[in-house]
């Protein structure tokens, strides 16, 4: 049974803003990435899952309960990290964490202390004076501390340094092992690539594609990048019967696509050429994404 279900969700804010006929389902124990540029409708969709907005058309469900009608029931087992962190100004970090724990109906602080240690957070200062990264950590602590079975995370790593991003990825992997269902939005490909089982891409309020991550990893064709030492070799190589993707004469580099079953023949051909290096170009979400954006690289 799917835990989070979005069916034909439509919300038109005018001027082509909003979400239009968005549908996806997230199974129990699945980590689902929600990928798209700023303003594509990721947060709007999440807003509906949290029950902040009433759908114009369609519906959202969590555990079979309607998100607009029963948000309080749903939120007992859901942890939410907002995309834009807005804390009350007049509190210290630790006071806010305690307050949120009480609002969750927790008797103690649950996992908060463990998470604070993990993210090397000092919550004793005033929220007003905290940096973006520190606020993000407080938000993460609040989303995870009551050990919810469902997590909705809106751009969770924004503001975190690379070290902390790794800590976060580890945390997600642990939660995944523990059978949690996770929805994670992002505009950063790598972040989603590392952790998600499945990815939906949203563009201008519409789902452009939903991809299984293994589909991307176990692609039967691979792209290799080669650089030659001599320009003569470079020119000679281009006359081989291969599936060339691109070539750069100045750098003496060639991109070749090779089917897995042809790999040995490819190596035999290569044996005739002195190479500077050979590397596999991983097909990333970015490649898939670029297809939908028609090569517009201005998506980050």
């Amino acid at each position: 049974m799917s835990v989070i279900k979005v069916e034909h969700l439509t919300k038109d804010y005018g001027m082509n803003k909003g979400v239009f006929d968005v549908s996806f389902e997230i199974e129990k124990g699945e980590v689902f990435g929600f990928l798209g540029p700023n303003g594509a409708g990721k947060t709007t969709t999440i807003r509906h899952i949290l029950g902040f907005s009433r759908p114009q058309d369609g519906r959202c469900e969590v555990d079979g309960m309607d998100c607009w009608k029963k948000p309080d029931k749903i939120l007992k087992q859901l942890g939410y990290l907002p995309g834009e962190i807005a804390f009350p100004n007049d509190m210290k970090g630790i006071q806010f964490i305690r307050f949120m724990a009480r609002m969750q109906g927790m008797s103690g602080l649950g996992r908060a202390e463990e998470l604070i240690k993990r993210f090397e957070l000092d919550p004793s200062g005033s929220l007003k004076r905290m940096s973006k990264g520190m606020k993000q950590k407080i938000g993460i602590v609040c989303a995870f501390m009551h050990n919810p079975s469902i997590l909705v995370l809106d751009e969770p790593t924004s503001g975190l340094d690379p070290l902390m991003q790794n800590v976060f990825v580890e945390l997600i992997e642990e939660e995944k092992k523990a059978g949690k269902t996770i929805l994670m939005s992002s505009h950063i490909f790598e972040e989603v690539e590392k952790t998600c089982d499945r990815v939906a891409m949203i563009r201008q309020g519409r789902i452009a594609a939903t991809l299984q991550m293994d589909e991307i990893e176990h692609n039967k064709k691979k792209v290799f990048k080669l650089e030659f030492l001599q320009i003569e070799d470079y020119q000679r190589f281009l006359r081989e019967q291969l599936d060339f993707q691109a070539a750069d004469e100045g750098k003496k580099q060639v991109w070749v696509r090779v089917k897995d079953k042809d790999i040995n023949a490819f190596i035999k051909v290569l044996a005739n050429y002195p190479l500077k290096f050979l590397s596999e170009v991983k097909s990333t979400l970015e490649d898939y994404f670029m297809n939908f954006y028609g090569g517009d690289s201005n998506v980050q």
């Binding site: 949290l50 902040f52 907005s53 009433r54 948000p71 029931k73 907002p82 807005a86 804390f87 009350p88």
Partner: protein, 262 residues
Amino acid sequence: MFSRPLFMRTVKSNYKVLLIITAVLSFYLIMICAVFTPKALGEMMNFMENMGEMSNMFGSMNSVIGFIGQGYYGMIAVMFPMIYCIVVGNKLIAAQVDKGSMAYLLSTPTKRNQITITNGIYSALSIAAMFAFITALGIGACSIFQPDELDIGKFLIFNLGAFLLMFAISGICYLSSCIFNQSRYSIAFGTGIPLAFFLFKMLAESSEELSFFKYLSLNTLFDPNGILMGESFALKFCILAAVGLVCYIIGIRVFREKDLPL
């Protein structure tokens, strides 16, 4: 329907304004009780009589309760609590939606009704506490400065009336806070309407020709002068209570049904 931790939180973030406004009100009340003794008032009256017809305007000021009624409940005890209602009304709901911190409250298993009802209760209770304190202080101060001069019955009615007027005003501010998602609109309506009422009452009292303005103002429903002269006030007080209650209830319903840009 009531959230204890949220109530504590709301008290914490609003008690300073409450204390400041109550302190200002207390200061004026003590001043009036201490300075305007019947003797001083008598001297003032003599002076006024020499001024001719102006003395009519101060007609009811020849007793302590008269002076408190006119000078305090006619102006100060309305103006300052009104500021409190405006500031706190906006903070209770709209400011938190505008800033986005409401998202945190609503990401816990808390119903929207729980948030609005809890904060509405705070709003009404804090105003009640303010006037309860002023009542006790007034009775205390007069028993020290001018023993047996204060008409306690009327003084209690004044406080009840001022509380009910403020309950109605706070209801308007609260409703505006529930309707609007942006502080600036919430403040515009939450300030504009009570301020208009306040000014309309002043206009109505300023001359006979403008007296029709009294029908455009809630503030005329609490009329210390009328009460001093023995006019009935029960119906007016009931209207004030009803206006307040209706505003709070509509506010709670509006907030439950609306889209939140969080």
